[in-house]
Symmetry: C2
Subunit: 219 residues, 2 copies
Amino acid sequence: MTQAPAQDRGARSRDAILDTAGALMARYGYAATSISMISAECGLPASSIYWHFGSKDGIYVAVLERARIALLAALPRAEMAGADVAQRLDAFLADVQDAFQRHPHGLKLLLGLGMVQQDASAAAVAEVHRYRDALVAWAHAALCAVFGLDDRPQVADELARFTLRMASGTAVARWFDPSVGLDTGQLHVALLALAAHHDVPVRATPREGALPRDAADRE
Amino acid sequence: MTQAPAQDRGARSRDAILDTAGALMARYGYAATSISMISAECGLPASSIYWHFGSKDGIYVAVLERARIALLAALPRAEMAGADVAQRLDAFLADVQDAFQRHPHGLKLLLGLGMVQQDASAAAVAEVHRYRDALVAWAHAALCAVFGLDDRPQVADELARFTLRMASGTAVARWFDPSVGLDTGQLHVALLALAAHHDVPVRATPREGALPRDAADRE
DNA sequence: GTCTATACGCAGATAGAC
DNA sequence: GTCTATCTGCGTATAGAC
């Protein structure tokens, strides 16, 4: 390991900076995170940080870009094998739940930094939107597979946006009470009802027995 | 008017400061809003601002407190006169929609400033929670009246938190696309389904004809 | 690529005349 | 209560040796 070419020292530093910058910005927000904080936490001097990213704005863009790529790589492709809608929906919600638990930085970055929009650079604004659009597109595709909505993209879009708003709202609720988690049971009921409301064929209309309160307890 | 006792000059200045500080903090967030910005926008020198509020933190607490009082005063008491659940639910959602449209600052302050939590003063943290708790309590009471849940407070709590998370998530979506509004149609369907899922007696089970897409279009 | 040292401005906050 | 003037420190960002 120590024989690694000097070339990757830079890459490792770069990653270390992005790690600490991402954590700090997710915690305190963009404006409240200073270069000195990042420098102190990751050990590298401020000038190294500027050498890698050029500006505070550049750090933010790089952080968000890396978070987006990591999240999308972790999200499973929509290969829905479940027999009926309820099962596929549970599988989808388990994925969402999983992403929500394991990548808490992503949404927090969007929340804490979204306000940057108001005065941020064009690059930062573009990157924020890219992150959001990627999430919407993923949820859209997954919900198409769950409900068989390939011929009704508008409905899929509505359901995707509904899901993301619930996730965002839950992320907000979480900084009031960190024990709050995404309630997949609620989402299950709500998404089924919304689909039915749009006349999407949903075998096994929501009845009490068919609704696991936790997506993990079937089998 | 001009003969007003000198005493209320201070009160008017105080209000002016709170107005501009609230607008700026809702737009840029707490950390990104500086005293000089507030001073420049409202015309009063920085020292006057400090005379009134003592510190930047004090400004935030006062802004949020005033926003909470104003919002709660504007929210109608829960005198649900509607005949059936669907009608009372529509009335409730119209109130929520109204508050959402007319008091955009409130949620934005919570969103943009909530992160202050991480390093803010005890007073600021307390005020943020007071604002949130007041919203939850209002929604709880209103939903009790809508669904007749006085004997099932847990269900009312779940529905109230669901509603607030949707509202928060929509506020987030809004800074990506300002034209986004709270979709009361979705909320109507989702809340009815959640209530039914908890075996709350809901006359007129959600069917297509009974669901106005816009809460305003019933005669 | 990483370091020390530093420029420059604006941040939050205060003093004291009026 | 409001003003002018000012203090101190930290913010972003850069220069230049190694």
